[in-house]
Each structure stands twice: as C-alpha cells, then as structure tokens.
C-alpha cells in the first residue's frame, strides 16, 4: 500500500523522463555546442563537436531572422488572442441567456472547427482566399469591386489570424460557458430583483465571475500563438509571402532540417521556450496581482 502510488506513477514518470526531461536536457546541451570543421571538412575526423558557450544564443539573437519572426508572431497574436477570446466570451454569454433558441445546435457548430486539423483548416481557408475559387472574390467581382490579395502584406496577418480564430473560438467558448453555468442561479435572481438589465448582469456579474477561466484561456492562447507553425506552413505553397522562417518555430525547423545546424536550432528552441515561459507566467502574475488588488478594495 505504501508503495502503491509510486507503482501507479511509474508509467507516466518513465514516459516523462524519456520524452520530456531527456529531450529538454539534450536540447539545452546541444545549444551550448557547435561543430568545428577543420580543413575542407572532409573525412571522419574533420568535423568535431566542441563547446560553444553562448555563441549560438548571441547568433540567434543578433541574426535578425528569429527576432523578425517573433515580431511577426507578436503582431499576429495581437489580432488572434483578443478577437478569439472576445468572440468566445460573447458566444458563451449569449448561450447563457434565457430564451435563446437553437442553443445546442449553435454551440456544437461553433465548437466543430476544434475537430478540424489546423493543416486542413489552413487548407480550406487558403482556397477561400484564392481569387480563382473563392466565393467572396466572385461576389466582389459581380459588384465590380477589386479583390484584395489576402495572402500578402498586411492582409496576410488577417488571413492567418482568421484561421486561428476559426479553429480556437469554440474550445474557449466551451471553457468559459462551463464556468458560467457553475454560477448559482440565485446570484442572477438577486440582481434581477434589483432591476439589473441582462447587459448589466453580463458586464457586472457574469464577466467578473468567470475571470479565472478567462485568465486560463488567455494563458493557453498566448502559448499556442507563440508556437504557431502548422497554419503558415500550410499556406506557404499558396503564396510567396510566407517565408521558411515566418514564425520562430518555422525558423527552428528550417535551421534543424533545412540547414542541418542542430546547434543553432537547439539554441533557438530554448529561447522560444524561455520567451513562452516568461510571457505566460508574467501574464499570470499580473492577473493574480490585479485580482488581489480588487479583492482588497
């Protein structure tokens, strides 16, 4: 009995060591190493792995490509996160209204994109962005309006954001809606007796009540946004505007498998992980401090 919990924890622990701890440790180790080529780099002894110190890190940070990718992803995230969570909150509040019709149908439909792989979602929207096959360009053409090139420049950010919003809103809506339903009905009854309108109830009571799940969805959205890879990779064949290093993770992939420099890739991967941790935990701390202040008031 005393050893039983350890027995049950053995399978997850072994997998954790093999597929989480070991790879992370190995990536950190690789990030401090580099390949030194002597002579022409031919023969078996010509390429040796040596200690590199922080060289991979300084190169990643000064090389420009990684930072440009980070800036692009930041711009993309500034669209995706507010729009996606705003819509998720709006739909959750609407579902939680009395006398709403077709609630189960709309709830399931808005959730459905969750079951569509990011690659397939990007592919579907990619075709809808192509002027040759898109229904929107057809309609605009009938109205004699020009078709904006959605896969270039600024609109590309909107095009990519739209794919993420489409795929992610439903899941976040469910998380927020679940939190809303946990609020006891008596709370609203009291507010209604005091003459609050449904809008006031939503703004003053419901949104503060679900603040913890909003924080949680925000937290996971930031992480997912920084790691965007599938959607821009899938759109790449359709446009020249998505480079092989468009997002930080694409840069890591490109360095590891395109250029074959695993040491640079490892340093960049560690940097992306650190940035993710700092940003997401920074946000959590800020959110906690805010709620504590409000509690004190």
């Amino acid at each position: 009995m005393r050893n039983a919990p350890y027995g049950f924890l053995l399978p997850p622990a072994v997998l954790f060591v093999l597929f989480f701890a070991l790879p992370i440790g190995y990536a950190v180790w690789l990030s401090f190493r580099k390949v030194r080529v002597s002579g022409l780099g031919l023969g078996s002894g010509a390429r040796t792995e040596v200690w590199a110190g922080l060289q991979n890190y300084t190169e990643a940070l000064t090389g420009g490509e990684l930072l440009h990718g980070a800036l692009r992803v930041l711009g993309y995230g500034c669209i995706v996160v507010p729009v996606m969570l705003g819509l998720a909150l709006l739909f959750a509040l609407m579902l939680d209204t009395e006398k709403v019709r077709l609630a189960s149908f709309t709830r399931l439909t808005i959730f459905l994109p969750y079951a569509v792989p990011g690659v397939v979602a990007a592919l579907l929207w990619g075709f809808l962005y192509l002027p040759d096959v898109s229904p929107f360009s057809y309609l605009l053409g009938e109205l004699h309006l020009p078709w904006p090139d959605l896969l270039d420049g600024g609109p590309l950010y909107l095009a990519l954001s739209n794919i993420a919003v489409w795929g992610g809103t439903g899941f976040n809506m469910i998380v927020i809606y679940t939190a809303l339903r946990a609020v006891p009905a008596e709370v609203y009854e009291a507010a209604k007796l005091d003459g609050c309108s449904p809008l006031q109830i939503a703004l003053r009571i419901k949104i503060p009540m679900v603040a913890p799940s909003l924080v949680l969805t925000f937290f996971f959205s930031i992480i997912a946004t920084l790691q965007v890879f599938n959607e821009p990779t899938t759109l790449k064949p359709l446009t020249n505007s998505v480079s092989t290093t468009w997002s930080p993770l694409m840069k890591v992939y490109q360095d590891a498998f395109g250029r074959g420099d695993i040491h640079a890739a490892a340093a960049e991967a560690v940097l992306v992980a650190l940035a993710t941790l700092v940003l997401s935990f920074g946000f959590l701390r800020a959110a906690n401090r805010r709620s504590r202040q409000e509690g004190a008031r």
Partner: protein
C-alpha cells in the same frame, strides 16, 4: 443543453413570477447563428467544392454543386494506388492506439495523484503540468535526434510514443478521480482484502469512465490534428498520417491546379469522420467535460 434547459425550468422566478414571455431572445440567437454560419462556411464550401470537376471549380459559382464528385473520388482512390486511404488508416491507428495508451497512462497517474497521500505528490503534479508549457518544437527536434540514436525515426513508434504522455490528460484524470472515486469505497475495498491494483481496475476505473472518455477524445483529436511531430519524424509517405499526406499533396498541387480537386476532395473526406464522431458522441457525452467540469 439538457442541463441548461433544466436550469431555466427550475428557476423559481419563472414558475410564480409574471407570465413567461414567449418571445425568443433575438440578439443572442442571431449572434450565435452568425457564429455558427462563420464556422460552417469553410466546411460547406469544401462539401460543395468536392463535387466539382477541375473545370467547374474555376468557372462556376462556388456555392453551386458540380457534377464531378464520383470522378474526384475515383481519382483520389487511384492516386498512387490509393495512398490516400493508407494515410487515413495511419491516422486512425496513430490517433486510436495513441489515445488508448494515453488514457491508460493518464488514468494510472491521475488516480495515484487523487487517491493517495504521499511525499512529493504536489511536486510530481507540478512537474507534469510544466510539460504542458513546453513548446512542441523544443521537444520534437531533440526527440528526433534521440530517436535517431536508437534508430527509431521514420517508424510508427516515433509518432506514437512521444504523444502517449499527455500532461493535460493526467490533469483531467486527477480531477475526475478525485470527484468520482470516494475515499471510503477504496477503504472498503482494502477491508475486503483486495490489492491496490485490483481496487483500481475493478472499483475505481469503472467509476472514472465518463472522465476517461473525455481524456480519450481529447487525445484522439490532439493526435489526429498533429502535424509537427510526423512532419519531423517521417520521410516514408507510406507511414504518413492524413494531415501530412494532404500537406504534401497541396505542396505538389500548388503549381498544378489539376491536383486541386484531389486536395479538396481529400480535405473533405478528412473532415467528415471527426465531425461525425463528435455528432455521435455528443449524444451521450457533454462537451463541458472537456474543460474539467465535474457534475456534482
């Protein structure tokens, strides 16, 4: 939905208060319908586009069905000796077997963390949770290199094993086990002389089933939708899952519009099974379980 209806019915005010207005709440209903329309748009498009022949795709209005579905299907079936269906089969294998293993591991871990008091319990839990935060790429690239050392890359195992441990699955299992398995039931089992493993498999597991179904579905979707890991691990396209297969098809098709119809039909057929799965499953399983909601 049922719970929502139940709540509005049992709200005290509606029974005795002023007569309930029959009017539909217009703004919420319309907002939700617009949201649903937005979510259905690409799906509706691909359903119709899959019926078009290559010529119709570029010449007729998008939302008019075409006449080429049978031809498209035949083209897809014969494309490289039906490799498309092999990708679908691979995806089913990766997602089905992977989710099954993952659920078993999550159940063990979640049960241990919920039922036992032992030193280091919270530490173990927090370390596991930290795994959620790791960008897949910081894992995937060294996972590839480590598996290459063991000569295991470009194999089914290389896509299956790294996804078996799901930190979110362990987290959900812990919540479900804590809510569904009462401590006195475990204690009663011990009184009857049952071993810990026997109590887990015979008593606790059946109680955890609704939660474990959720873990299974969550992980099934996560593996089915995964792209990065197979993209990194696999080079033999006989082992590709559907996401990677469609991607390579699109990559080749980008310059050959003749392949567009193949990609579109393939995307259509790839979307159908998961949507069907959710439509069937939601009849006896609540979406809310996905976010860790536990019925009281």
């Amino acid at each position: 939905m049922n719970a929502l209806a139940a709540r509005t019915n049992t709200t005290p005010g509606t029974a005795q208060g002023p007569p309930p207005r029959r009017r539909t709440a217009l703004v919420p209903t319309v907002t939700l319908l617009l949201g649903a329309l937005y979510c259905l748009l690409p799906v509706a498009w691909v359903v119709i586009a899959a019926t078009k022949s290559g010529r119709e795709l570029f010449s007729t209005f998008t939302f008019l069905p075409g006449s080429g579905f049978a031809d498209n299907l035949r083209d897809l079936n014969t494309y490289r000796d039906g490799v498309y269906w092999r990708w679908m089969g691979n995806s089913a294998l990766y997602a089905g077997l992977g989710a099954l293993l993952s659920t078993a591991v999550s159940a063990c871990g979640g049960y241990a963390l919920a039922v036992y008091r032992f030193r280091g319990r919270e530490t173990v839990f927090n370390i596991l949770l930290a795994g959620v935060l790791m960008p897949p790429v910081i894992l995937a690239v060294p996972q590839y290199l480590l598996l290459a050392e063991a000569d295991l890359t470009d194999s089914y195992v290389s896509v299956l094993l790294p996804l078996v441990l799901s930190p979110y699955g362990v987290y959900l299992s812990r919540i479900y086990a804590a809510a569904a398995v009462p401590a006195d039931v475990v204690e009663a089992g011990r009184m009857d002389g049952a071993g810990e493993w026997r109590i887990f498999t015979r008593v606790a597991l059946p109680m955890m089933v609704p939660g474990l179904v959720t873990v299974f579905l969550f992980q099934f979707v996560a593996v089915w939708n995964n792209f990065l890991l197979p993209y990194i691990m696999l080079s033999d396209d006989e082992k590709f899952p559907i996401t990677l297969g469609l991607y390579t098809l699109l990559e080749q098709g980008a310059n050959t519009p003749a392949l567009y119809t193949l990609v579109i039909t393939g995307a259509f057929l790839a979307v159908v099974p998961l949507i069907a799965l959710f439509l069937v499953v939601q009849r006896f399983w609540s979406l809310d379980l996905l976010s860790g909601a536990v019925k009281s």
